[in-house]
Symmetry: none
Subunit: 199 residues, 2 copies
DNA sequence: CAATCTATCTTTAGACT
DNA sequence: AAGTCTAAAGATAGATT
């Protein structure tokens, strides 16, 4: 007897699913679905794909081919030019704002340099230290202090960025949404063969 | 009789598509498909989803709801514990190897904290200083210093990196790409729709 | 090439276990 | 709560414009 056992897939509105349970199920199912799609794209086209998902509760899920760190590091370190015809402009904006962490890192490095200098000066006056701070083990740091520091760095970062923009806007009078300052092309690990350069 | 106009969707093997043109088309189509899925997951479940795709040529594409930076920063900064039942083991393994940049960032924060402490101690002995460098407004940095920043950072970066190799397993291979953002505020985090297409 | 077409393949909503 | 089932919804391969 050909009685329908189920109604089959039903159409649903494209809006937040009201029912908690249904939403959870859908979250799980569709997340898996995206992973599968990502893996297929990777296989079929030889691309590297990373998917990051955060549940409303803030729990993190990720999928990466070859690995999610590789993917994110690629974005953060290498920052290749966007090439998506559909999302080109958006990409340009995003990608260069994406540098925030990297910039912070740079900021920190430079501030460390300054600190080092100043400490050197201080040490001349108080020559009873044996090791530089950079040689000390990191060890014991209170969460609170770290957080405070992070906030300060963030503020400083904004100042520097603003100043940097003045500087580099003057230096390179470009109308582009960004300006690349120092590309150091010598060590670019992503010089690709012309064969695959198309996309 | 109604003649078939197309053969419809054909099944394809799940392996790298040999034909270059087909592969390109598939890359584009399926990438869009994943973006759509991601956006739907976000809408239906209130999740934040980020997708990063790198073509074999290393060109980057990304999609993010609310924004790809937010997503990646979340991973890099917060590094929440894995909670994916499907990929649990893989995730656990991956996340245990902390993100390299994040590690460096943390390292630097730590070292700065140490530096701060030590400078505080030093200052007690040499109480003719008024403020710590981290308290100085950044605008007091000279133009010259800002211009020299790249070089300094690179040198220090190498130094830190060398020491990092001792502490951590792996060294970063990339030199620092000094890209600078202009302060595009970009209030609209939603991706696909927000922009006039440039071409 | 981007866009459309459409037959067919693939995903998944809902129900049950 | 993870797995199964089913049929409808949705994605897309291949062709065309």
């Amino acid at each position: 007897m050909e009685k329908k056992q189920t109604k089959g897939r039903q159409k649903i509105e494209m809006k937040r699913i009201p029912n908690e349970e249904d939403r959870l199920i859908t979250f799980s199912k569709r997340r898996s679905g995206i992973y599968k799609k990502a893996s297929e794209l990777s296989t079929l086209c030889g691309a590297e794909v990373g998917v990051l998902v955060f549940s409303p509760a803030g729990k993190a899920f990720s999928f990466g081919q070859p690995s999610i760190e590789k993917i994110t590091n690629k974005v953060l370190y290498e920052n290749p030019p966007p090439n998506d015809n559909t999302l080109n402009l958006v990409e340009a904006h995003r990608r260069f704002r994406l540098n925030e962490l990297h910039q912070k890192y740079s900021e920190l490095l430079s501030k460390m340099e300054v600190a080092k200098e100043q400490e050197k000066i201080l040490r001349k006056k108080v020559p009873n230290r044996s090791k530089g701070w950079w040689e000390e083990p990191i060890s014991e740091l209170s969460m609170h202090e770290l957080e405070q520091m992070a906030i300060k760095i963030q503020m400083l970062h904004k100042h520097v960025q603003h100043r940097a923009n003045e500087l580099w806007t003057r230096a390179s009078s470009s109308s582009l949404p960004f300006s690349v300052v120092n590309q150091t092309p010598s060590t670019n690990p992503f010089s690709m063969t012309e064969v695959e350069q198309k996309y």
